[in-house]
């Protein structure tokens, strides 16, 4: 759609000349997101600096039935930030203030454009001021936490490596300030563990910007433990690694993080500048964190070491200090980016499976890779069953991108077939909307659409996402 000069002028009057993009070349930056598979150009991008400005922009869109797409850092891997029908992209990037760190009530209040890691960084600085305390951090830590925004995390209900113990984003949100599609500003929740009424925070979280624009959030923060122990284990077989995961979890230990990577993923990481000394000859590695008091964490780590060894690990290493542990974790968190060293393009898959089905899932992924002629690396949040197959392809070869998408499609269908789901943390977005009917009946999807209509009766919020057309 093409916006009139009058609309553009209204938007300028709200955000000012310096906070709007209308130039065709500059708009190209906003025609893609982290998925880099499809493109769709917005008519205009605006950069509000307050909730009130967002509300005024949204009101203009509402009155003129213009599509709105909220955008943080644009790291969505499902096409969630693509303006499929054009319209206004509202970038929250300049609403990036940490408004309050409330240690007494264990919350952080932030604007939606705050980068995830900034919250923990800000809390760490506070710890320096008060070294007597153990300090706090924000536990929802997606792999993209260095770049993705809190608003984006909430919209996609992002996960992270610590989900197994601390839950996904929605479990760590106490309050939300949002702008409804008609321009009304609403606040839900507070600094409290629950509030009366329906869980509106829960329904907006993960709704992928199809209901409202999140502008501020009250987040739960958690305190550090005295000690964290990190364990690295290498296996000659994927099955043994899967067995070790089951045994660790069954033992009663609650690891903070439990991550799996296969040989292709490890080799890609180690080929680049983020190598962390991970064993490149292993078929699979596990990276595990436990936390507690010093004697408690040591005891738990020792039990895990025993389980790993008895499950067939050929190498088990306890990080000798935090520096070594941080190198391993830093390497893991760069896994997606590292794919650039082993292939020109890749698609990041995101399915969840029952943990015990991991060997079967990986076998079938390998078969799908062979069928299409692609190498597929696997990164797996083993604690919570979230699998990220990384399909390596070369878009310069005609038809290869389409084939890679077909391979992803088959993998996700396989996840559903073995009892899982099509997305664990990246969202349905644009790419996977044709797959949602594998999980829900028409009746159930219709209920979801009617819930959307409660918030967005005109259908202007991030149109073309989640639901099949």
């Amino acid at each position: 759609m093409v916006l009139s000069r009058e609309i553009i002028n209204k938007l300028i009057s709200i955000v000012g000349e310096d906070n709007i993009i209308t130039d065709d070349v500059e708009l190209m930056v906003y025609e893609a997101d982290g998925s880099l598979v499809y493109t769709a150009k917005p008519d205009v991008v605006v950069f509000p600096r307050s909730t009130e400005e967002v509300a005024k922009i949204v009101k203009v869109a509402w009155e003129n039935r213009i599509p709105i797409v909220g955008r943080g850092s644009g790291t969505s891997l499902s096409g969630g930030a693509l303006p499929i029908e054009g319209g206004i992209v509202i970038s929250l990037a300049r609403m990036n203030r940490i408004l309050e760190l409330d240690i007494e009530n264990e919350t952080a209040t932030v604007e939606a454009g705050v980068i995830n890691l900034w919250v923990s960084d800000a809390l760490a600085k506070l710890n320096y001021q008060y070294p007597i305390d153990l300090g706090y951090y924000f536990p929802a830590d997606p792999g993209s936490q260095r770049v993705s925004t809190i608003g984006g995390n909430i919209s996609h209900n992002a996960g992270g490596v610590k989900c197994f113990k601390y839950g996904v984003t929605v479990n760590n949100v106490r309050g939300l300030k949002v702008v409804l599609p008609n321009g009304e500003i609403r606040f839900f929740g507070g600094k409290v563990i629950e509030s009366p009424g329906y869980d509106v925070i829960g329904i907006i979280s993960g709704s992928e910007g199809t209901m409202a624009i999140v502008t501020e959030a009250v987040l739960r923060i958690v305190s550090n433990y005295e000690s964290v122990k990190t364990i690295l284990a290498a296996f000659n077989s994927i099955e043994d690694a899967g067995l070790a995961v089951s045994r660790i979890i069954s033992s009663g230990i609650r690891p903070v993080a439990l991550e799996f990577m296969d040989r292709i993923a490890v080799n890609a990481i180690e080929a680049g500048p983020w190598g962390g000394g991970l064993p490149t000859d292993a078929e699979a590695i596990l990276l595990i964190d436990v936390e507690g008091s010093e004697p408690g964490a040591v005891a738990e780590a020792n039990r895990i070491v025993d389980i790993l060894k008895s499950s067939g690990a050929y190498m088990v290493k306890l990080a000798k200090d935090r520096a070594e542990a941080n190198r391993w974790w830093s390497a893991r968190k760069q896994a997606f980016g590292a794919m650039g060293f082993v292939g020109p393009n890749y698609i990041t898959g995101d399915g969840t499976i029952p943990r015990k089905k991991l060997p079967e899932a990986l076998y079938r992924i390998r078969e799908i890779g062979n069928k299409y002629g692609f190498r597929i690396a696997n990164v797996f949040h083993a604690g919570d069953g979230n699998l990220h197959p990384l399909i390596l392809y070369d878009e310069r070869r005609p038809g290869e991108r389409e084939k890679a998408l077909q391979a992803e499609d088959e993998i996700l269908r396989m996840c559903v077939e073995i009892g899982g789901t099509i997305t664990g943390e990246h969202g349905v977005g644009y790419h996977k909307r044709h797959l949602i009917s594998l999980l829900y009946t028409d009746y159930e999807l219709d209920v979801m659409k009617r819930i959307k209509s409660v918030f967005d009766p005109l259908g202007i919020m991030n149109p073309g996402k989640i639901f099949p057309r």
């Binding site: 007494e104 009530n105 264990e106 209900n157 996960g159 996904v168 929605v170 479990n171 609403r186 606040f187 507070g190 600094k191 409290v192 563990i193 629950e194 509030s195 009366p196 009424g197 329906y198 509106v200 829960g202 329904i203 993960g206 709704s207 979890i249 069954s250 009663g252 230990i253 507690g292 008091s293 004697p295 408690g296 005891a299 738990e300 969840t352 499976i353 029952p354 015990k356 919570d384 979230n386 899982g420 789901t421 099509i422 997305t423 664990g424 990246h426 349905v428 996977k432 949602i436 999980l439 829900y440 009946t441 009746y443 159930e444 209920v447 979801m448 009617r450 819930i451 409660v454 918030f455």
Partner: protein
């Protein structure tokens, strides 16, 4: 109420699935015209389809242990007694998840899970007499939520019968699942106003190597308590109980830190766990007090809120910022409103959990003022005919 509806239901369900109402089914002084007693999900679905068509007003129940919770109904034609509808308990200890039918008692679930060294990591009020359905539909939880999160948070999947009788499933049962809207979270805590949950699937926790519950004769400051890293804390009329869990070395370390700040009597193992569930079930409070209020606050403001009310019985959960207060006799609406306003200024909420009928008639028990329009529209998506627990939820929806 139209007799033809009952006749229609009679034609499709078993002989013993329709009962005469007894005193057990009275809600806030109202007697239903009929009690439906479905044998299974199919019968439940048939009943709801007919009830919805006729626009009858329904209140679902299992053990009837929380019928006092909610506003006075705006209508009550049918009690649906779910106590035999779905009694499964299916733990999957390897995946750390479990599936339970709505009518299973909570403590029975815990007993079954303990056989495979697992547990539901929640400690809700009235756990001693509640069904799974009651706990999950009201999102009840206790002090363990500080570590394990709320009942809503650990729920992975909900199976339900919609008010029109359609059987639905919300969520896939995976810990991480962002496909579609998170409707299961709407159901947990909806107090039977959106449909009838008949099965839930949740995360489980393993039984820890050691459980210890320490009893202190005084209450520690919140910040001091937090540094001790307990899994849960409850203070009952000034006596503080801290629960520690984990491997032996971890629990020993925490208890040694506790002795640096206070004397304590410590219970271990099954004795400690039993003691904990007796405390957090709050049976004494619910049996002996006519007026029970629940305050929910930012943790550090809880003390300020408690100073507003002279309660006869106080169960405080400082780590999660909640308390249940028991009073003998009623309070006037003006006093309730004054306390509520002050609690609201502190950033919290006050819910009247149980109250004498006359008092309930003059107040909104939930006290929610904001976003009621959205709540009403959400209810209308599921229950456009207002058949489910009509008038009992927030704002009288």
């Amino acid at each position: 109420m139209s007799l033809s509806v009952i006749k229609n239901i009679e034609r499709e369900v078993g002989n013993d699935s329709i009962k005469e109402p007894s005193n057990d089914y009275v809600v806030d002084g109202l007697v239903p015209k009929v009690v439906l007693y479905p044998r299974d999900i199919n019968e439940l679905s048939i009943m709801m389809r007919n009830i919805n068509r006729a626009g009858l007003k329904v209140i679902p129940m299992v053990n009837k242990s929380k019928l006092f919770l909610g506003n006075v109904p705006k209508g009550y034609d049918v009690a649906i007694d779910l106590s035999r509808v779905h009694r499964i308990i299916e733990p999957d200890p390897e995946e750390m998840v479990g599936i339970y039918g709505i009518s299973v008692p909570f403590m029975e679930v815990q007993r079954e899970l303990s056989r495979v060294d697992r547990r539901l990591p929640i400690d809700p009020p009235l756990s001693s007499r509640s069904s799974i359905g009651g706990i999950f539909s009201c999102n009840l939880f206790g002090p363990l939520a500080y570590v394990f999160m709320s009942t809503r948070d650990i729920t992975l999947r909900v199976r339900a019968v919609m008010p029109d009788g359609t059987v639905v499933r919300w969520g896939t049962g995976m810990i991480k699942d962002v496909a579609g809207y998170n409707i299961k979270r709407l159901y947990i805590g909806s107090c039977g106003s959106l449909g009838i949950i008949y099965e839930v699937m949740t995360r489980l926790a393993a039984m820890p190597e050691v459980i210890a519950v320490a009893r202190l004769d005084r209450e520690l400051d919140l910040l001091v308590t937090r540094r001790l890293k307990p899994f849960g804390v409850v203070v009952i009329n000034g006596t503080m109980y801290l629960r520690f869990e984990g491997v032996k070395d971890e629990v020993e370390y925490r208890l040694s830190k506790l002795t640096e700040v206070s004397r304590a009597e410590v219970f271990y193992g099954a004795e400690a766990d039993d003691h904990w569930y007796r405390l957090t079930s709050m049976d004494q409070l619910f049996e002996n007090y006519d007026l029970i209020m629940k305050v929910i606050l930012p943790q550090y403001k809880l003390g300020d809120a408690l100073s507003l009310v002279k309660a006869d019985y106080v169960v405080k959960m400082p780590m999660i910022g909640e308390a249940y207060l028991g009073l003998r006799g009623a309070l006037s609406p003006d006093i309730i409103n004054a306390i509520r306003n002050r609690v609201s200024e502190l950033g919290g909420y006050l819910i009247i959990v149980k109250a004498p009928l006359e008092m309930k008639r003059s107040i909104d028990i939930w006290g929610l003022q904001q976003n009621l329009d959205i709540m009403a529209k959400l209810k209308a998506v599921f229950d456009p005919n207002n058949v489910m627990s009509y008038g009992r939820f927030v704002g009288g929806i």
